[in-house]
């Protein structure tokens, strides 16, 4: 029970299915199962990395967890600042709105996530205005402090987004997220649109801010080297399901799921003397409307057996805080990166 109290966010059986309509009568012909039953938790002051390739449902998962998109099924628990564990799907509009200041999001595209007609001051102070967290005359000072804490000069307040570079815009987005003193920040691929050198700066900033403001991060990304740098634990997603969860180094060094193994082998290695042994998965990612029966990954898995096409594996605890969804967890000798 002590462990449960430490969990800031917990998700169980979260599903989001988008109906596909056909014809004039708009009858439903199928569902895009973007998120197909995921369960995870994030501890206070922890960073959980959520990785997977494009289209696996990680962005949808992040937005569904905040109820920006309404979940089809599942439960979401959040520990509020009053130390109350609330279940988000049961809250009404007013309660959700009040919680929104504690769970914030950083968006992926720095070029479309800021209102082009608003000044930086207006953008960053907006959460304060929405939740009435500061008086009008204090707004400027608050924004000044926020900008300084993300490494931007306060005199930029009256400028417009188009006058800044991508990295600076992301910092503005981070300042906006910090404005309401959140406990949880869901960072949806915050560095994917930036140059590599700028990526490092923003990542370091995020790490510093985590220590400074006691933040908890859900870090969604598809770049594994980035995720390794910042996450305490990682969860690997494939086709709407979580296939492996564990502490970062544990997963990177001892992956237990064939998909994780393949993903990790694809990470570029900096050492020119080391030959990269890439595992090439056969086939393409199937459509989320028609996911394969049994284990979703089995058509591309080099270790697949008959049972894999018949039964869907559930996430099993294999000790050491490591969970895998594979029928052969533990028995496969999977290669790893170091």
């Amino acid at each position: 029970m002590l462990e449960k109290n430490e969990r800031l966010l917990e998700v169980k059986g979260l599903k989001k299915h988008f109906p596909v309509t056909k014809g004039i009568r708009r009858r439903v012909s199928g569902y895009v199962k973007a998120v197909d039953g995921i369960s995870l938790f994030i501890r206070k002051r922890e960073t959980l990395g959520l990785v997977g390739e494009s289209g696996c449902g990680k962005t949808t998962a992040g937005r569904t967890m905040l109820r920006l998109i309404e979940p089809t099924e599942g439960k979401i628990w959040f520990k509020t600042s009053e130390e109350q564990r609330v279940e988000l799907t049961k809250l009404d509009k007013k309660q959700i709105k009040s919680l929104r200041k504690e769970m914030r999001m950083i968006f992926q595209d720095p070029y479309t996530s800021l209102d082009p007609r608003a000044t930086i001051m207006e953008i960053v102070s907006e959460p304060l205005k929405v939740h009435k967290l500061a008086r009008r005359r204090d707004l400027e000072q608050r924004v000044r402090t926020l900008l300084e804490s993300v490494g931007l000069k306060a005199q930029y307040m009256r400028r417009y987004p188009h006058e800044f570079s991508g990295g600076q815009r992301q910092r503005i987005g981070i300042a906006r997220a910090l404005a309401s003193n959140p406990r949880l920040i869901i960072a949806d691929e915050p560095v994917s649109a930036l140059d590599v050198s700028v990526q490092a700066q923003v990542l370091n900033l995020l790490k510093d801010l985590q220590g400074e403001f006691n933040l908890t991060y859900l870090f969604i990304a598809h770049d594994l080297s980035v995720v390794r740098h910042i996450s305490d634990r990682i969860a690997v997603m494939y086709l709407g399901k979580i296939v492996e969860v564990g502490e970062t180094e544990e997963v990177y060094q001892r992956p237990r799921h064939p998909y994780s193994e393949a993903l990790l082998s694809a990470v570029p290695v900096v050492d020119p003397d080391r030959k990269a042994k890439r595992i090439l998965l056969k086939g393409d990612v199937p459509s989320p409307i028609n996911s394969p029966p049994g284990c979703h990954f089995h058509p591309r898995c080099q270790y697949a057996e008959r049972v894999c096409s018949q039964e869907e594996p559930s996430l099993k605890d294999i000790g050491n805080e490591h969970y895998v969804a594979c029928h052969f967890n533990g028995s496969l000798a999977l290669k790893a990166t170091t």
Binding site: K101, P127, V130, H131, Q155, E163
Partner: protein
């Protein structure tokens, strides 16, 4: 620059905001600036019309009926130059051959034009005054645009008419913009059934031929209504029939902005739909809204003039440019006293002015489309 304790000495820099960028581009277009100046001048003349009218426009002077415009002279009949422009009185003469009445200049006495003179009393927005921009001393007349059938100074009546014509157009355009932009934004943002209903309404309204519809609605106004009621009713009719155009454009823009991250960001922080529409979507549609505003105004001026000219719409004793032109319907009157078409000249200048202004604005708006970071 006051230095408050603790303030950063380097004052926060002002960014090159949207309006500054638009203004810079706008300044380059000479026709747009010209149009703007013309409008400003006419607006001032209309707004302060009593100040600029040497004669009371209600002044019923049948003996001064249909006097032609008097010319401003700098040279007198002897060829001598005078610094101060002056006026000759008109005297009624009879042509010895045709026995028709003609007006001749009475060169026996010069009436210099004086500025800031005292004249008839008027009340302008609560301030009483008898100061007028120009005038001549007792005994002289100064009808720069001539007089109408009742001997009333046409210049003053044109300026007075300008008030009504311009304000109907302005208010009509403002109400149009308000209704149009809100309906367009709501339609685009909420989609679904709301969108469908609004779109059908737009299509129905737009499928009517404009002029017959204007005429029918104006003709339906009871003649017993007071001038003010008719004035307000005209504004309502105009905006009801004009909002669909803007609504469509705003809806298009809203549809394109709706899916962008910065809108999701407002939702994510807990912002309401109203906040999204009014603080984020509509300000981003400002370029379209501004252009439609400035192009609606000339359209409404023309419409009002047409309707009043035909006897619908504004009725005498309220004066508008269209009402003034009613007299010009009679060919005989028109032939003998061509100066009564002068209100038409003002209509043309105003409409052209707004059109040039609107064109210039449309070219200058959306400066972000040129800029790319």
């Amino acid at each position: 620059m006051k230095l408050r304790k603790g303030t950063n000495v380097i004052e926060a820099e002002k960014g090159k905001g949207y309006l500054q960028l638009v203004w810079r581009k706008f300044k380059r277009s000479k026709t747009a600036i010209g149009g703007g100046i013309a409008i400003v001048i006419i607006s001032i003349l209309s707004f302060f019309s009593p100040f600029f009218s040497p004669y009371d426009y209600l002044d019923y002077q049948p003996r001064q009926s249909f006097r032609p415009p008097q010319r401003i002279h700098f040279f007198d009949h002897k060829g001598k130059f005078h610094w101060r422009p002056f006026i000759y009185n008109l005297k009624l003469e009879m042509d010895p051959e045709t026995y028709s009445r003609i007006y001749e200049e009475d060169t026996s006495w010069r009436f210099p034009i004086r500025f800031l003179v005292k004249g008839w009393e008027y009340n302008l927005f609560g301030i009483s005054s008898n100061l007028h921009f120009f005038g001549v001393e007792e005994g002289g007349t100064i009808h720069l645009f001539g007089t109408d059938i009742y001997g009333r100074d046409l210049l003053g009546r044109i300026f007075l008419g300008g008030r009504v014509s311009l304000s109907i157009a302005l208010f009509g355009a403002i109400v149009t913009v308000i209704i149009g932009s809100i309906m367009g934004a709501v339609s685009g943002y909420f989609s679904g059934r709301v969108d469908m209903v609004i779109q059908r309404a737009i299509e129905i309204i737009q499928s009517f031929p404009q002029l017959p519809l204007w005429m029918a609605l104006s003709a339906a106004l009871p003649k017993t209504w007071s001038s003010l009621d008719i004035f307000v009713a005209m504004i309502v009719i105009f905006s009801l029939l004009n909002w669909p155009l803007l609504a469509r454009e705003v809806r298009g823009k809203v549809l394109s902005y709706r899916e962008q991250d910065f809108i999701m960001a407002i939702k994510e922080m807990g912002g309401s739909d109203a906040r999204i529409i009014f603080k984020h979507l509509l300000p981003n549609c400002l370029s379209h809204i501004m252009v439609v505003l400035t192009l609606s105004i000339p359209e409404l001026i023309l419409m009002e003039s047409v309707l009043s000219f035909l006897g619908l719409g504004i009725q005498p004793p309220m004066v508008s440019w269209g009402v003034l032109l009613q007299r010009a319907q009679n060919i005989q009157t028109l032939g003998q006293h061509p100066w009564i078409t002068l209100p038409g000249f003002f209509i043309i200048i105003t409409v052209l002015g707004f059109n040039f202004l609107g064109d210039g604005l449309r070219d200058a708006a959306d400066p972000y489309s040129v800029r790319r970071t």
